[in-house]
Each structure stands twice: as structure tokens, then as C-alpha cells.
Symmetry: C2
């Protein structure tokens, strides 16, 4: 039997990130300020270090990965690429299925790829502390780990309802030395205001962002750090696709289709962009972003300028959006509950260069369980979206007899999501259809610009 795992040596960790902007047919639409005019990159200097801002606006194809960042990557990178022999057999498909596995990182997903880079650049800029928000805790724990690696203090504002219901991610952050506060908190003016109005507020990601940004903007020694959406975040994640390309080459294969789940876009961009470079050069392949039917940003949203956060603090980003105050139903794939999407992913989708598909919750868990029973690994609910579509592609091959090569990104393990599996097995998990009325409402509040 051919190899199950295609491994790379530490010396093969890529030396550069890939910037998709260099190969896009059109320049990225610029972020706009409240006045509807493009904002100057320097305007972000209060919360981001200059190196990050330069990456955010760069058009260079290759951006060097600092040696100190590669040094930390070596704790888990290169991540393995698997050939899913046993899943193929279980499906009876003639397709070849490969998956890149990012769950081997300390935090258990792809998120540390950018957290480590962001912590490094902030440390270089003399910053002492990072502030960020987190929902269920995946991003907060990644930044806690990264901060610890470079001796930066990390302060995480964790949505109160998650803080109380999900103590394990919180303990993980504390293990890596981060301070974690339930948001809304009494540490910031935003938090105190919200608490004054509603002392029992359960919090929201939007509120937590406000607290973290306020703290970063108000303190010289503190910056803000974001886990998805922005160009520099997707840039850092391209290490996933760059490694996967080397590994596919070692396996003597090239994918016909590359699949990844897509919330803010960093997981999809991470694996897909390096393959997009080949597509831009004329190679035929499909790049498929998978989102939940309950939050179908690309497949049902509008391509328009909108705020990145719920309360409207960020610059306006041109992206597919369901409206910045749209509240997605409570699916367990928390990382995919985002009203917007990465401007880079959005633009490529708008120009017809990538595909998107939306899948319902129960079908993703069904796929995740089938995957776990064949391959052993327990996927995160977000990753189950990619598993679902990879299995669907393989089953289509079974019907058609095509021997396609399928590659997907298994973005993380589900060790902290077993409560969701528990609900799935006990029949308590719901499917949500497209919340058309709610989206129509929030769309009315799209800012009038651009």
C-alpha cells in the first residue's frame, strides 16, 4: 500500500509566505474609512506594528518568514499530509483523497500559524502586550501560546457565555500564561458601559472586539491581534498550502480539487492560495470554499462594503456579507459563524475564480463520524464541513467512475468539541435552514458607501 503519511523534514519548512495579491487579475479593493475614502495604512498604527501593516498592503509575491518564526513552527511543522486510504475503501470510490492535518499544532488548529507570526512582529516592534477577543477560545488559545513563545503578555477578552460554559479553553490559555477576562468586563470603558446597561450581559464577539481594540488603542505598550479576515492573516496561513504542494509532489500527485471550510477565510486561503498561483498560470483545478447553510456568506451574501465587526469600529471592507449585525444561528462550528469573509477570498469568488458551497450541520457531523471511523482522527466541527464536501466529491467519482485527486484541509481536531458530538449522538443537534428573513433585516443596515 502506498504511504499513509507524507512527511517533510524541518529543513523543508517554507522560507517564504505566498501573497496571492501578486497573482490576482485585479488589485484588491481598498479598505475605506468612515468618510468612504480609502484609509491610509498608517491609520492602523495604533493597534498593529508596521511590519504587519506593510504585509497587509503588500503586492510582493513572496514574503520571507523570519527565522525566529520558523524556529517556533518547528515545534509542530511541517504538518503531515495523509492519504485517506481507509476512507477511500469505506466509500468504495476510485478517487484519491488526501488531507493536510493542522490539528497537530499545540492549540489544535491552523490558528497558531498566524498567531506566532503576529506575536513575533509585535515583539520586534517593542510591544509588551497583545489584546484580543475570543469566542469559544480557539483563537485566544493560539495567541496565548504564541505570546508565551516570545515573552509577550496576552490579554484575552472571552465572550462571557463561553467563559462560563467552556472552562477548558480558558484553562488552556492560562496554562500558556495568558490573562483571560469574561467580556463584557470592568477592565474597559466599553465593557463598563455595557455592564451598566445590563449587568448580566452574556457578551458577544462584537463586544469582546470592542474591549480588545479599546485596550490596544489606549495603551502604547499594547497592540491588537486578529485571527482571520485580514490579508496578513491569510498570508501567514499560506504555509499550509505551500507545504501541501510539496507533499503532493512527493506523493506524485496533483489535486483536481482543493477543499477547505471557510469562515473568516484564513483556513481556506491558507491551503487554496498557493494552488491558485498555479491556476493563475493556466493550470486547471477547482478551489472550493465550504460554509454552513446557516451562515452562507459567499453563497447568499452581497458583495459590498461592510464593517468587519458587529458594532462598526473597523474600517469598511469590500467583502461578501450578510450584514454586520447579522446573528448566525448557534451551530457548533463557531469558527464559521461570521457575517463577512476575507476581502481576498471574496474578490476571487466575485470574479469566478473559486467556488463556494454551503452544507447543513447534521450532514457535516455525519461526515465527521464516518471520517473518524475510517481514519481515527476526530475532526473539529468546522473541519467537518470540508470532510462533507470531500466525501461528496468522492461519491460523485464513484458514480461517474472518475479517478479524481481530492485534497482537503483538516483544519483542527475536535477534542474540545466533544459536547457537540455528544449532542449529535443523542439526537439533540439541529439543522438550520438559511435564515432569509434575518439576513434581509441586517442587510438594510449595510453602510451606504462605495
Amino acid at each position: 500500500m502506498p504511504q499513509t503519511k507524507i512527511l517533510l523534514d524541518e529543513s523543508e519548512i517554507p522560507t517564504h509566505w505566498y501573497n496571492v495579491v501578486a497573482d490576482m487579475p485585479n488589485p484588491p479593493a481598498p479598505p475605506l474609512g468612515p468618510d468612504g475614502k480609502p484609509i491610509a495604512p498608517q491609520a492602523l498604527g495604533a493597534i498593529f506594528p508596521e511590519a504587519i501593516i506593510m504585509q497587509e498592503v503588500s503586492g510582493e509575491r513572496w514574503i520571507p518568514i523570519p527565522e525566529a518564526v520558523r524556529e517556533i513552527y518547528r515545534l509542530w511543522r511541517p504538518s503531515p499530509l495523509y492519504r485517506a486510504h481507509r476512507l477511500e475503501q469505506a466509500l468504495g470510490t476510485p478517487a484519491k483523497i488526501f488531507y493536510k492535518y493542522e490539528g497537530v499544532s499545540p492549540a489544535g488548529s491552523h490558528k497558531p500559524n498566524t498567531a506566532v507570526a503576529q506575536a513575533y512582529y509585535n515583539k520586534q516592534a517593542g510591544i509588551k502586550r497583545l489584546a484580543t477577543e475570543t469566542g469559544a477560545g480557539q483563537w485566544g488559545s493560539s495567541l496565548a501560546f504564541a505570546g508565551q513563545m516570545f515573552g509577550l503578555e496576552v490579554r484575552v477578552y472571552m465572550v462571557r457565555v463561553s467563559y462560563e460554559q467552556k472552562p477548558f479553553r480558558r484553562s488552556m490559555m492560562q496554562t500558556w500564561g495568558a490573562e483571560v477576562f469574561a467580556s463584557p468586563s470592568d477592565k474597559t470603558e466599553s465593557g463598563r458601559k455595557i455592564l451598566a446597561a445590563d449587568p448580566k450581559s452574556p457578551g458577544s464577539l462584537g463586544m469582546a472586539i470592542s474591549e480588545a481594540v479599546e485596550e490596544a488603542a489606549g495603551r502604547k505598550d499594547t497592540n491588537y491581534s486578529l485571527g482571520s479576515v485580514l490579508n496578513h492573516v491569510l498570508l501567514h496561513q499560506t504555509i499550509v498550502g505551500l507545504e501541501a504542494k510539496k507533499q503532493m509532489e512527493k506523493a506524485g500527485e496533483y489535486p483536481d480539487v482543493v477543499i477547505a471550510c471557510c469562515g473568516g477565510g484564513s483556513n481556506f486561503g491558507g491551503i487554496a492560495f498557493p494552488f491558485f498561483a498555479d491556476k493563475a498560470a493556466g493550470r486547471k483545478l477547482r478551489l472550493v470554499a465550504v460554509e454552513p447553510t446557516s451562515c452562507p456568506t459567499l453563497t447568499k451574501g452581497k458583495y459590498a462594503y461592510d464593517f468587519g465587526d458587529t458594532v462598526g469600529l473597523t474600517p469598511l471592507l469590500k467583502m461578501y456579507t450578510l450584514g454586520h449585525d447579522f446573528m448566525p444561528p448557534g451551530i457548533h462550528a463557531g469558527g464559521l459563524r461570521y457575517h463577512g469573509d476575507s476581502p481576498l477570498v471574496s474578490q476571487l469568488y466575485h470574479e469566478g475564480l473559486i467556488e463556494a458551497v454551503a452544507v447543513p450541520q447534521l450532514a457535516t457531523f455525519e461526515a465527521g463520524v464516518q471520517f473518524a471511523r475510517a481514519e481515527g482522527i476526530l475532526p473539529a466541527p468546522e473541519s467537518n464541513h470540508a470532510v462533507r464536501v470531500a466525501i461528496d466529491e468522492a461519491l460523485a467519482c464513484k458514480k461517474s467512475g472518475e479517478k479524481k485527486t481530492i485534497l482537503f484541509n483538516l483544519s483542527g481536531h475536535g477534542h474540545f468539541d466533544m459536547a457537540a458530538y455528544d449532542k449529535y449522538f443523542s439526537g439533540e443537534l439541529e439543522d438550520y435552514s438559511y435564515p432569509e428573513a434575518a439576513v434581509a433585516e441586517s442587510m438594510k443596515r449595510l453602510p451606504k458607501v462605495g
Copy 2:
């Protein structure tokens, strides 16, 4: 900087397990029946397949690993060996610290190494179902995974209090297709008896063993499977040490000391026995088993014949024991709460060929947190015992200036143990001293044989 991870290719997965019996100065003390006479291996035929029984009593040095078992091992093996560069720096030690990481398996520890082998041999023998017990769920989930790989049904009797308090390991077992029952259950006579006497019984490992053994003994299609203690289990685990030896050789190093936590002994035996072969051949090195001060079997127990289970169903095993009905305090390293120890480990300890040390709970968590902050990985509470002693050895080197090479086994990750870390951080975790009076009591009930 030298490599962080020393990896092996799939083709380097060992082809044979190593049987330490071949290199022990004296033959192993035989298990005894209730009459005090050595039992015939065939007596175990009601619950074990013949291939396993033959391994249990084998004196052959090398036992081939079936190709079908190596095929499943390839899903995560060879496991990585790490050089703990960042931990060394944090400690300021001249010692070199290496660790083998078994947390990469689907179940998150070394346990699947034997679960997969046991499932295979049972499948070969025409068995359809495996019954086993589990406490917190680590062993049950490993056997659930292994059973799924070979199409065997798996029935797990899970101690009721864990079943109710720790639903996540239960969901994990269900994801891999196992049936999980809270024990005592109404599925067996033993269970029904216990429930009749106490309908609210919280259960115990001893009770769960009774249920699983009863089911296996009473059904032709069903066998029993055990996760530690017995010779064949330790045999299967030697794949850990065999890989580690190859990896140390690749790194150009040889350990002065090999450290592992020790409950039933399969984790310690797994990494230490292949190195013991060198010691038996004259090489100078130390092999150190680490146990909790609250359950100090090797360091405080008596070397005597005793039952392997609480209620006295098993053959009598010659081992270090605290008495078969000793109830260890409720430390979070559930895998180390065992009154006895592997007869092979016990005999080597009795003959002065290996060392043992007991460490208190708080010091192990302190070590685990220090490790996580340096290396990223969050260790299981059991593994923290090995981390503690590895750090202590490294700090002794700092004092003495010795440049020792330290190797320890990081037997698993702590993703399902964050509640224990949570208690550690909130100051709720207790230290337990040696429960001298309780041990004196249980020692009175040692069977009078041998």
C-alpha cells in the same frame, strides 16, 4: 540549532516487538490459581485468544508484528521524538532533554499500541466482540478505535461516576462506534447484584472489570481486553522504546537516564524495556519509573502475590502491591491509581535493575505547566509525573554541571484533562501524602500464598 523533531519514515516502523523476558536474569514468577498453584495458560482461553496467551508466556526475544497491525500503526506511527530545546533553555541546564510523544495517536496516548494488536488477534481468532472496562475513558476509547479498525464490536463498561461526569470520552468512544454502558449496569449478573444492593452505586473499576469479564467468559463470540499490567500488553508497548532507540541514534545520542510514569506499567515498560536490553548487555544507564506519592506501589508496596483486580477474580500475580482493595486518593492522574504493577516491572525493580521514585500531585502540575510554556504541548496528568522527574534530573545537572542526556516518555496529551488544570490554577488541587494507614489495612487482606 539542531533538529527539534526526529522523525522516522513509515517504513521504519519496527517489524518486531521486544520481549524483555529473554533478557531478564530470572524467569518471571508464574501467575497462580486460587489453589496457590501455577495456572495453565489454557485456563485463560475463555477470555483471551490463543495468540495473546502465547505472547503472555513467551520467552522469545523478538515477536513479529503482523502486517495488518503495522498498517493501522501507520495512521500515527512512528511517533515523533522531540529535543526539548526550549525547555532546556528555560531551565538553564547543560543536560540534553529528549521526549518521545505518544499523544499523536487517535485516542491521544500510548494505549492504542496494544489495543490495535489485541483487536487484531481477536479478529483472527473469529471473535466478534470485545468487552472491557474503563475509568475516565482513556483505555475504553483506545479499544473503541481499535475495534472499529478491524470491524469488531466493542462494549465498554464505564465506571458510572465517570460516565456521568466525563461525557467527552464517552462521546469519543461512540464516535468510534463502541457501545458504552454506565457500570454497574443491568446487562450482567454482577451489575444487577450490585444494583440490587445499592441502586445508586457510583461504580468502581473493580466492578466494571467484573462486568466485562463476566460478559466475555459467558459468550463464545466475546473476549476480554486489558489495557496494562499483563506481559503481552507491555510487549506491544515496546514499539515506543524501539522507535525511540532508532530516533536517539539518528540524533547521535544515547540516554543516560530513561524516565516514564508508571501505573500498571505498560507505559514505563514500553519505553524502558528496549533500553533494558542494552543494560542487560552491559551498557550503563538508569531506568526510572515515576509514580504518585498517593499510590506509591513500587516505592512503598510489598512484593507479593495479589489479585490484579479489586474483587479478586483474576489469577494471583507476583507484583508490588498496596493490597488489592486499597482505594487510592482521587488524584487526577487516573491512569496511575492502581494498587499493583506489572509483574515484569515489579520483578526488575525487586532485582534492583530499575529505579522508582514517587512525586506529589502539585509538583507534577507545576512541571506540566512549565513544560507547556516552553514546548507548547499540554501533557496529560499522568505524563506530568515523568516531566517532573525529567526536570528534576535536568536541574541536578545544572547544579553539578553534568551534561547528561535525558529521555522521557510523554505518554499523552491533556486535552481531556483540562478540568484538572483548571483546579490547579484556581488553587483547588490537593496534595496527598502517603496513605499509610489505609495501606496497612488493605495489606491485611493480601492472599496467603506463594
